[in-house]
């Protein structure tokens, strides 16, 4: 049940417990209670809106930054990750396997703002060994949604 509710909400967080109950053949009280529980357990962490900011006329830039760090005794990567994710301009921080350690997604108003952040805040952290910054030029698909696609029904309107 939980997985079905989450799958529906992940696609459309505006769906009400009433609507979900109809689709899953359940009662809206039950669904509402389950959602509340999942909010309390931090399984549901928030309700976002997926926006194509380019289309909204925003000039903000997004960068993916590969960060190599020295893990700290007893802390692993958690401490350094926290020092990075506390910056509000940081969108996401992932611990990654492979050639580098942390993947930081950063949003800034301009290229300059992003490079300022990297050179003055990120690189200067004690445990950071090196960074590599990649600017995102175009978003094709985000969170499972393809931005450009206009879905037109190509089927004939009546078929047997």
């Amino acid at each position: 049940m939980r997985e079905s509710i989450l799958t529906l909400l992940e696609r459309n967080s505006r769906m009400t417990p009433d609507e979900i109950a109809v689709l899953l053949g359940s009662s809206s009280e039950l669904i509402a209670a389950e959602i509340r529980k999942m909010e309390q357990e931090n399984i549901i962490c928030g309700y976002n809106t997926l926006i194509d900011w380019d289309k909204a006329g925003s000039d903000a830039v997004t960068a993916l930054i590969e960060v190599r760090v020295t893990p700290q005794r007893g802390q692993g990567f958690d401490n350094i990750a926290e020092r990075i994710y506390n910056y509000p301009e940081v969108q996401s921080v992932y611990l990654i396997s492979g050639a580098y350690d942390l993947l930081v997604i950063l949003e800034g108003k301009t290229l300059k703002e992003v490079s300022e952040f990297v050179s003055s805040k990120l690189s200067t952290l004690d445990t950071v060994l090196s960074t590599a910054t990649h600017f995102i030029l175009k978003k094709y698909k985000d969170d499972g949604i393809i931005f450009e696609r206009k879905k037109k029904d190509e089927r004939m309107s009546i078929t047997p």
Binding site: S4, V22, L23, G25, R155, S157, I158, T159, P160
Partner: protein, 395 residues
């Protein structure tokens, strides 16, 4: 010079076939703007990307030649493996499996391979539109069995028995059913199987919607009932389960004696099913069943949504557990299905298919397809409710 005379020009048999009732409706809809259609008989999902990708890849590689008449061995192996897994029945890919141009071709082939002039074919109605004309073209005599709303449009042993004569040879089993969405449970099939065995009937089981059932249990096929596999042509395909209608690919499995004759006709009429589609379908069966499950869940949610909406509207509708159709009853409005559908289209711009397009016993019902997004369904249900409310106010 003699004038072309109509009677000389055409085969009387072919000329006598009634055009599909759906065609007329389609022409009206095509002229209108802002129509929300609930009239299609094909999935709204795209073919899974892995399947399309395989199609592209094999084109790039130039795999564009004929295949063997029966179809790629690789594909036939996947098909028989799939049937073994889903139904627990064994077919030999080398002699008991034929890849066809959609399930439709298999229906035509089965009749042409098995019917002699005058042989009767029992066809439960309402049903898909091609069984009757295909039986006629194969010199058979179609005998329809009107199914009942009160039985949730299942075929009962009694109904079957009542229509059997000395000439009866084939029973068509179109379940899960288009247009009603009805499914046959195991006990229903066992009862029907007993009658078939007693009267020595062959079965053409059109199971094209087998992967789209919502009972919570797997689809049950007549071939799973002891004694029936050897007298059944099992027809299925990729159109509905894998959203591959335009690829035109189906298949049939059955006793080698019948399959070899079907393959012979197929060889002369078609040669082989489209090569490109065959490669793509191999990937569909091998890698894409997870996508089928996702689509099934989406259909099930829409099905529940529609049934809930009809209950709220007070529109009587039995709960269908298969395909992607619901078949509500509109008798209370004192109109024929066609009048109802025409007025619904003209007044609210919603296209549905009148039930009688699928046989006389569909009169009094309309077929509503839920192969549409929830948003489209919401819009359509809103319009339908307005229409129904107005009709009730005026009566």
């Amino acid at each position: 010079m003699k004038e072309l005379s109509h009677s000389n020009l055409l085969s009387a048999k072919a000329d006598s076939l009634k055009p599909s009732g759906i065609r007329k409706f389609f022409d009206i809809v095509a002229e209108m703007d802002d129509v929300v259609s609930l009239g299609v008989g094909e999935p709204d999902f795209d073919t899974p990307w892995a399947v399309r990708d395989e199609g592209i890849y094999t084109l790039e590689r130039g795999k564009t030649f004929y295949t063997s008449n029966a179809g790629l061995m690789e594909l036939r192996k996947e098909i028989t493996r799939f049937l073994k897994k889903r139904l627990g029945v064994r077919y030999d890919p080398a002699g008991e499996c034929l890849v066809t141009v959609g399930g439709s071709e298999a229906i035509d082939l089965a009749f042409r391979a098995m019917l002699n002039p005058g042989d009767e074919v029992l066809i439960p109605e309402p049903c898909y539109v091609s069984y009757v004309p295909c039986a006629v073209l194969a010199d058979g005599v179609p005998v329809t069995i009107p199914l009942q709303d009160k039985n949730e449009f299942r075929l009962t042993a009694k109904e079957l028995e009542d229509h059997i004569t000395e000439k009866t040879k084939i029973l068509v089993l179109p379940f899960p059913n288009n247009p009603t969405g009805a499914v046959m449970r195991r006990e229903d099939l066992e009862a029907v199987a007993r009658v078939c065995l007693e009267h020595d009937l062959y079965v053409v089981s059109d199971e094209i919607y087998s992967e789209l059932t919502y009972t919570g249990e797997d689809h049950v096929s007549i071939v799973q009932i002891p004694g029936m596999q050897e007298r059944t042509i099992l027809i299925n395909g990729f159109s509905k389960a894998f959203a591959m209608t335009g690829w035109r690919l189906g298949y049939c499995c059955g006793p080698e004696a019948i399959l070899s004759v079907m393959t012979k006709i197929h060889q002369f009429a078609i040669m082989c099913a489209p090569t490109n589609s065959q490669y793509a379908a191999t990937v569909a069966l091998r890698d894409c069943y997870g996508e089928v499950e996702k689509m099934r869940e989406a259909y099930n949610q829409r099905r529940r949504f529609l049934l809930h909406a009809f209950r709220k509207m007070g529109l009587p509708c039995f709960e269908p557990f298969g395909a992607f159709y619901v078949f509500p009853c509109i008798r209370e409005f004192g109109m024929t299905s066609e009048e109802f559908a025409t007025r619904l289209l003209e007044e609210q711009r919603v296209a549905v298919v009148p039930g009688d397009a699928f046989g006389r016993s569909g009169e009094g019902f309309i077929r509503i397809s839920y192969a549409y997004s929830l948003d489209a369904l919401k819009e359509a249900v809103g319009r339908l409710e307005k229409f129904v409310t107005k009709l009730r106010e005026n009566s």
